[in-house]
Amino acid sequence: MTVVTQTAQEIIEYAKQTNEPDWFTTLRLQADQAVAELALPNFQKINYRSWPINVTQRPEVNEEPIELTELATQQANIVQLGSQLLQADLPAEFKEKGVIVCDWLTALKEHADLVQKYFMTKATKPTENRLNAEHVAHLTSGLLIYVPKNVVLKQPLTSYFFQDARQSRDYVHHLLLIADRGSELSYLENTGTYGQQECPANIIEEVIAEPGSHIKFASVDRLGEHTTAYLNRRGYLEQDARIDWSMGMMNDGNIVGDFDSELVGAGSHAEVKVVAISTGQQVQGIDTRVTNYGQHSLGNILQHGVILAESSLIFNGIGHIVHGAKGAEAQQESRVLMLSTKARGDANPILLIDDNDVVAGHAASVGRVDEQKMYYLMSRGIDQATAERLVIRGFLGPVLSALPSKEVRDILAEMIERKLINGQKDE
């Protein structure tokens, strides 16, 4: 007779309720067993161990009703609230070309081949750390996107993922995005929180770039003030594949962002651009890594952030070139601008180089607003708060102007302005 733990019991009940395939339930149970033995992931200078970040609640089917109109937006193709799919409106091009976009349960039931092949098998593993294991055991919502071989999509895909925080419940969400050989996709994701309750969020997003594929991945993250989040984005790049990451960390609560690109294939290329704004008393810890395994692979990190009030922002930039990655290149630049004396900022460049025939470089700075610039702007009649935002805009400019899409640039610029105006109220 085997002993069934309470969590295992809850998982089995949930599986029955949703009728998910057995093989996935087995994965969950294995992950759940591993939780106790696994440690939290370690990120330099990001001290989150005392945060209520673990997801431990009974997984449940959430059918709390919502007025669709409250969260639907015209620009969105996909809108999800928790595990509920509120809107799925794909461009005609996607259907014609056989692109798969579906919610998690549908993915498990109808696209088991894809999920079994890619779900936490390449980009990351269920047992990589405790938060990953908790993720697999408690996963209740997500999205699968699959772009078939050689399909080049002209229309971008836009998704909105809302955490349902009307009641205190775990938000455990997974994105599995696969661009098959030679395909191209532009994807814009928005995360947010609906409701005001204290909740943990555990989000893992895997972006698999098969050989020769090109993915433009843009995100605007606006999780709520009462959400404590683990946000893990992983790119896995095969030969000559490319991912352009453009991420705007505009959350209001505490968050650990782990953004990694595994440059596995020869000639693979990741561009990672991050803009972050911390306000109030929040802590945003961002650990961005590129690991070059493939020869002549290229990983560039560019991250700029602004800190207001009593908040914190930590940027780790990790360039790791493994032995054998001849001709690989890893570059990074992390800059932090502090607007208040009570803010805390860090920019840590970390280079781990295990081969000789490579190029690697880093730049990092933490500084305050240039008084001369402020004086100049204000001398034309512009008030201090506006002048600060203009200086910030200039500071973030090098990242924004490097974003591959004008649409994303405009959206981010607007979100930045909004977050800054709100943040300045706490100054």
Binding site: L377, S379, R380, I382, T386
Partner: protein, 260 residues
Amino acid sequence: MATLEVKDLHVKAKEEQREILTGVNLTMSTGEIHAIMGPNGTGKSTLSESIMGNPDYEILSGDILIDGQSIVGLPVDQRARAGLFLAMQYPAEIPGITNAEFIRAAINSRRPEDDQMSIPAFLQKLDQTLTTLDMTQEMSERYLNEGFSGGEKKRNEILQLMMIEPKFAILDEIDSGLDIDALKVVSRGVNAMRGPEFGSLIITHYQRLLNYIKPDVVHVMMGGKIVKSGSADLAVKLEDEGYAGLRDELGLDVKLVDEE
């Protein structure tokens, strides 16, 4: 008509002990152009920065008033909205905001929320002003002063001046580093502003600029205060005789920086 008054102004730099302005008195009205001349290191720029409200300087005593209202307690942006403008010697470079966006924000900062300048009206005025200053459209779309040459920055200061239309404009050595053609363009801009609603205080080292912008009054500063005021002829006389001549004539005990 508006007035700008400086009364017995004593100023030092924040980081230092030495008093730079040792009692400046000056009164001017809109409709007038005043020039302040003087040798190096005599406090001309300190005077302009103090009037504008640069936080690097500390007012020890005295007062600065617009229309009888003291402005020394006001931060720089409020002084600007009260009608002051300083064309700076070393304008800052601000990436991320275009010239045109910045100028429009500056204009609208002094207008009420419900009476902001419309984009068409703004663009029309901008076009005209660019033409007056021999500037290209492209310059208004570049980031504020970023990568501008010295001469382009000076022109850009005058562009802002003409667009914002302050009551009083202080031009701090606007002529330094300008060749004769650029000097003519800048002067054309300032002269275009002349009128009953506009006054200017022109700080310069050389009389040359005053050939193009005729001042109503010329003041000479030495040792941190105004030692002589007169008509435009005073500038010509200075050019001939030098500051040392005037100093000796006035019997002042002031050491000139350029003197060995």
